[in-house]
Symmetry: C2
Subunit: 328 residues, 2 copies
Amino acid sequence: MSRQSQTAGSWVVLSGGSGGVKLACGLAQLLGERLSIIVNTGDDFTHLGLYIAPDIDTVLYALAGLVNEETGRGRRAETWTFMGALAQLGGPTWFKLGDGDLATHLDRTWRLSARERLTLIGAQQARALGVTARILPMSDEPVRTVVETDAGGLSFQEYFVREQCRPMVRAIRFVGVGVARPTREVVEALSAPDLAGILVGPSNPWLSVAPILAVPGMREVMRASGAPIVAISPIIGGKAVKGPTAKIMVELGLAPDSVAVAQHYAGLIDGFVIDRADQALQKDLRLPVLVTNTLMRSLDDKLALAQQCLAFCHRLGSRRAGAARVLP
Amino acid sequence: MSRQSQTAGSWVVLSGGSGGVKLACGLAQLLGERLSIIVNTGDDFTHLGLYIAPDIDTVLYALAGLVNEETGRGRRAETWTFMGALAQLGGPTWFKLGDGDLATHLDRTWRLSARERLTLIGAQQARALGVTARILPMSDEPVRTVVETDAGGLSFQEYFVREQCRPMVRAIRFVGVGVARPTREVVEALSAPDLAGILVGPSNPWLSVAPILAVPGMREVMRASGAPIVAISPIIGGKAVKGPTAKIMVELGLAPDSVAVAQHYAGLIDGFVIDRADQALQKDLRLPVLVTNTLMRSLDDKLALAQQCLAFCHRLGSRRAGAARVLP
């Protein structure tokens, strides 16, 4: 079967920051405008009067080739004159705002205050930076992730940036999610007649993907699409590649492994992707599994995993369509 | 008479940008916390959702030793990463915002949105930057200078920055000034029992000083203080040292000279300071005049003019107090 036919049609990937963004980069190279990335906005917050959408920004910078590859967040060739001047004025410095990064926030904030939709602002910014894939906030309504910890309730940024994920997590809530709705653009992407597959990127399932899935109607539209849904585990050998996923799993009383991730997504996904390091876990998983290299260090890694995920989805879709195929 | 006694007490100077700021710098070096600078806010505007107060910022940066000496505005050692990124996003670039400068605007804007007063925000910023003189916005209420030109009505920034002062001025209005009031801090500075003098700095009398004097009650409080009021002409040899003062005077049907400036301030001032280049005009002026070097290139120039103005005020005050003195 040709690669072309395996990647035909339109595709959707769900993404938070870190791993999901790396996979999205690989997918965007393969699919261009046929890729829609539904992005978590639960981490969005207002700081110094600026509306900051960390996961949208990370996806935007990564796809525009502007991301700081070392940290995986923010812009490369960034300068920090603003933060120095703000510190001189006695302003808050716990959240670092680069000079170039500020342009994204200011542009977005004043457009929001003029009642433009978050989705359309993001679309315009992506177009301006030459990004062809569609970056879609999960919702235009505000949803705020609150991490209930032994140090009290913290906004995502307070937990993640200010407290460096040190407090012990007891529960995670998504404030406002009850009245949020998937945007028209999200519903259109998930209802496209040529939709070939939906990927759940290897972002933190509890902090980054859960807010997307918690938007009322999101799971239903995903399932109703009929397209195969495949999640990629963010856990390799009992550890998260980056961030607090494994720590949070333990604090929530779960084993920090890919089996627990698959169980978390049970009822939603048709297939699951784990790393070769976790091959032994395959026997404990009760759904089609792709075992491959999921660690994305280079662009080649991203492209390879993206290609593998698309092919896996294609096989699942063909099987569901009744074709008698056996998974490898 | 000692210099000490000539500069005793508290002092007030009215300032816009450019010349007024230079004089304020000289005065601040001599007087420190005994100096209050009442600053024009008619040029303030909102851009990209930021509240920008150009004259307050210029005074702040100049007194904090942070000003870009070459341009007389903005910060030295400034970087421009933000503007580059904003241009990439297709944002408006006609008003240049330096990365360090942004900290001042953002800090001010979010404090204003939290309902802090412009005066107290400025006081906190000045304190943070080690400025001891008091920088006082003329009013906490919004006053917006509108320049009526042959190209239509323009906000000050549109006229000054975007249109580079090219349109012909027909009239100048101060929108909102009717309901503005001098702040408590301005009234206190002008009513201080030890007030020794009020200087009207060599800023543009029509664009920069007029908004201050247009605030209802401002002139009355100045006159009621009983302190001598002295204006410094911004015109030398028929030309403005900087900016469009002379051009505007011609467009308003005035001769572009210090006599017209003195007439503009008639009824308010007790003395007038002109440059040696305009010595011949002294005979046409019907009030006490100090002829001196008013061009301020170096810090020494600023200090010398400040010292001369204080001494001139002191002589006027002594005369008004009944002492039989003859002006030089």
